[in-house]
């Protein structure tokens, strides 16, 4: 088991936006298999991490969790409650870290990616990342992970919702959760109708409940199967990584823009057009205007 104190200290520096810590994390090579879970709030992402994670622990593996929760658009504060669901992982002495990022979403990308990289290169066998709970818009983690799991439940809409663009399109595994309290068959069937093979992998659709050991085993097995597939198709994994770098480049630009807004607010911006403001924002971070 890795030494938690130094990992936590490094994560503190990343969360504070310390560029030397972020730089170090980005330069590292991940050793752990990174599994990310996205989906609407309350569908069971944290509980799945707890059940699958503790199943892996019983199999002799070590697990780290990065749980990302939204920050308040009003106060910048946050209520981080994912840890509450991870009682078994907590009891088994695994590493759980909650994280939020006041400020822009691009800023969150770079901090989250650095945190994932740090955990993945710290000696754990598996790193689970839980998304902010933004539903279909929550697709970035697909590029920040090795296996991307989209979690949903029945009752959130009809076939049109299943057809819509977004995170579910990028899922390697789709989990239709809470089959202990709801009928999951119809929604799973809909997803099976719309999933498409990518790089030789047909996304698995699983009906699931964390309370059923054989379901937990089946999801763990599906993750393992996907892992073997990725390891046989390194080109697809590299495509994923380069998309992550594209997002990080945006994130670095976003970092500068955060400060730009506060500087601009101190002056009188009322008379400036959107174009003039965008112009000023871009030049403040040294980015060439695309229209020139």
């Amino acid at each position: 088991m890795p030494e938690f104190r130094s990992i936590s200290d490094a994560l503190n520096r990343i969360e504070e936006g310390d560029w030397s810590a972020i730089r170090e994390a980005l330069a590292s090579r991940p050793g752990a298999w990174r599994v990310a879970l996205a989906g609407p709030p309350g569908v069971g992402k944290s509980t799945i991490i707890d059940s699958v994670g503790s199943y892996l622990v019983r199999g002799g593996h070590s697990v780290a969790v990065l749980a990302i929760d939204p920050s308040s658009p009003r106060s910048g504060g946050a209520l981080l409650g994912d840890r509450i669901r991870m009682r078994r992982l907590e009891r088994e002495g695994q590493f759980i870290r909650s994280m939020t990022s006041p400020g822009s979403r691009p800023r969150l990308w770079i901090l989250a990616y650095a945190a994932i990289k740090l955990l993945a290169s710290s000696g754990f066998d598996y790193v689970f990342v839980e998304s902010i709970g933004g539903g279909q818009l929550d697709f970035e983690l697909a590029y920040f992970s090795d296996t991307f799991v989209y979690v949903t439940v029945p009752g959130l809409g009809d076939e049109i919702q299943v057809m819509k663009a977004g995170a579910a399109e990028l899922a390697d595994i789709i989990v239709v959760n809470k089959r202990d309290v709801a009928y999951t068959g119809a929604l799973a069937e809909l997803y099976r109708r719309y999933v498409q093979e990518r790089n030789g992998w047909l996304p698995r659709v699983l009906e699931f409940t964390s309370f059923c050991p054989s379901d937990v085993e089946a999801l763990t097995e599906a993750i393992g199967e996907h892992r073997r597939h990725v390891e046989e198709h390194p080109k697809a994994a590299e495509d994923r990584r380069l998309t992550a770098i594209e997002l990080l480049a945006l994130g670095v630009a976003g970092q500068g823009l955060d400060r730009w807004k506060y500087t601009a607010l101190e002056g009188d911006t009322k008379g400036l057009s959107d174009l003039e403001l965008l112009d000023d924002a871009l030049s403040s971070i040294g980015i060439k205007r695309p229209w020139e």
Partner: protein
């Protein structure tokens, strides 16, 4: 080094009454803090370990069960064991004044009883954390 403005709200021992802890967690979120809530029935070891893993800059413990004189010293000890002896620990709940004095002698920074205002707790935290 801890993360500025990131704090832990914890429930220690066999105490399932967490309305106060929830109100505090939500109120401090509205005051701009990043609040991690542990949930109920945690051991001193679990709370200290959560404080270490999460990189918080303060720990706020809520106890209504009367077992504060047993649990809080153990929490302080578990924090010290992890090199977190300097971490500010605040206690809230039903704490008799004599016990509050003793807890402060042991290293608890402040005790907040019934009738405390969240704004005051937030202000206290901002002052000690420079946040």
């Amino acid at each position: 080094m801890a993360v500025k403005g990131k704090i832990l709200v914890a429930k220690l021992g066999l105490d399932g009454h967490d309305r106060g802890a929830k109100v505090l967690a939500r109120g401090l979120m509205e005051e701009g803090f990043q609040v991690i809530y542990t949930g109920i029935r945690k051991t001193p070891e679990q709370v200290a370990e959560a404080a270490l893993q999460e990189g918080v800059s303060a720990v706020l413990v809520s106890i209504l069960s009367g077992s504060h004189m047993y649990l809080v010293p153990r929490l302080l000890e578990e924090l010290r064991k992890r090199g977190l002896g300097d971490l500010p620990v605040l206690v809230g709940g039903i704490i008799p004044p004599d016990d509050a004095r003793k807890l402060k002698e042991m290293g608890v920074l402040e005790v907040f009883g019934p009738g405390s205002f969240i704004k005051d707790t937030a202000q206290f935290l901002r002052r000690i954390l420079n946040a």
